[in-house]
Point group: C2
Chain length 244, copies 2
DNA sequence: TAGATTGTTAATCGATTAACAATC
DNA sequence: TAGATTGTTAATCGATTAACAATC
């Protein structure tokens, strides 16, 4: 690798599409590690990660030259390099706001507590939930939000509140110094430019599936969904059809 | 619109990136509807959806010509057109497999039960969960999976099981006729080409945030994470650093 | 050396964006 | 008509992919 190539990598950074796939590769690699596999080819790793091998090699080339021609990649070494690139060799402190079923699922999620993430607080506004012990943690009152963020150095907030509460909570965590937000509430959050927001939306994913499902079932003799109720546009009926 | 343009639209279909944004526009529009807004410009709707107006207009142009120059879009009409395009004017039947905290959160999620999706079954392998009543539905034993799918015409399966059980469950729902899967288990599912899988992965989203957070904190005098423990590569220590 | 597999190139494809003609 | 806003064009940007030279 020439100094010029090295500089390019550092300056241009890693493409977003590649960053989004690195965690997938990391998971596949740790799976191989658990099965005692020491070395893997791009073809094998790509299959395990569900991508094609050209894309995998291109992605990894953005990190550096970590493979051996004719041999493949050393699993442990690649695990370390990807982990370091993603920032997982450091500890990130997370607070979960909203401790309903979703918040509980997140609090108990194995991938959260381990692998570089530490849940420093569970917070809720509901008095009947505050004080409950969940996976060894006591739920704090939302009034203590700023204390928890400052006291534990929280940099990532996970918002699992009802939609109506999400923007208010977001404003507070940002004011308290949080710079990354993972949002599960079905609203578009407004944040300053320096704050990163990622959104996980269950119903949006389902709607995307419905679109493709419709295309499959769509033929005149395909197996369509139940209650197919084609209301012609340009009438007033369409409002009912949507809101029913 | 010329016949030629009409044909292009039908033949080429809607770009994936556009399909993924249609549910976002739909949510913004129903929000406007609830506030009694009758007409909206691309500028206003784009702001509500968190995109720029050029992208919004380009996206909507793939559906048809549903705006009025100089005026904007009629909210109710656009809600209907997007709903129809996404297949939400039909009823899709969903089964949720795995009724832990996440499955419960999904079962109670407002966006699931309404808007074109009907949850026809909750299934779990755990005897202590089977028979429980959740949001008015009784949890069935996983043994009844094929019955539930066939009996209710389930076309979309939501997998919220532990990782180890996911592929087995997936094989069974596909064999029973399901053609769309929403997977919350942290594994890559293998399915036949005609089956659509979408994946929601909580820890992957968090890792992507960590990457960007690291870049922000990254400067030599930036506010870094706690426990920054830079272990040099090429030593055996890196394994601990990752798995700690 | 011969076989295998990486890392890179270059072509292709798809998505984004700004600008503006069309038109209400 | 004058002002406003859509729908489309065309340029740009970024991602994907196949092919293969480099090299272990």
């Amino acid at each position: 690798m020439t100094p010029r190539q090295n500089r390019d990598r550092a300056e241009r950074g890693i493409p977003e599409a590649t960053v989004a796939r690195l965690p997938v590769y990391l998971r596949a690699l740790t799976g191989l590690q658990e099965r005692g596999v020491a070395t893997v080819s791009s073809e094998e790793l790509a299959a395990a990660a569900g991508v094609n091998s050209a894309k995998l090699r291109k992605d990894l080339s953005h990190l550096g030259s970590y493979g051996t021609r004719g041999v493949g990649y050393e699993v442990e070494y690649l695990v370390y390099q990807i982990s370091r690139e993603l920032g997982l060799t450091q500890d990130w402190v997370v607070a979960i706001i909203g401790v309903g079923n979703l918040g509980r699922a997140l609090a108990g999620y194995g991938g959260f507590a381990s692998r570089g993430f530490r849940v420093a607080g569970l917070l809720d506004a509901d008095e009947s939930i505050v004080g409950q012990e969940i996976y060894g943690m006591t739920v704090a009152h939302i009034d203590r939000l700023e204390d928890v963020i400052a006291g534990h150095g929280v940099s990532i907030a996970v918002i699992a509140t009802p939609a109506a509460a999400a923007q208010g909570v977001c404003d507070r965590v940002v004011a308290a110094g949080v710079t990354s937000v993972l949002n599960f509430a079905p609203v578009v959050l407004n944040v300053p430019a320096e704050v990163d927001v990622r959104k996980v939306d269950l119903s949006i994913e389902l709607q995307i599936l419905a679109f493709h499902e419709q295309r499959k079932a769509g033929g005149p003799d395909g197996l369509g969904p139940l209650d197919a109720d084609e209301t012609p546009p340009g009438t007033t009926q369409y409002v009912e059809a949507v809101e029913a």
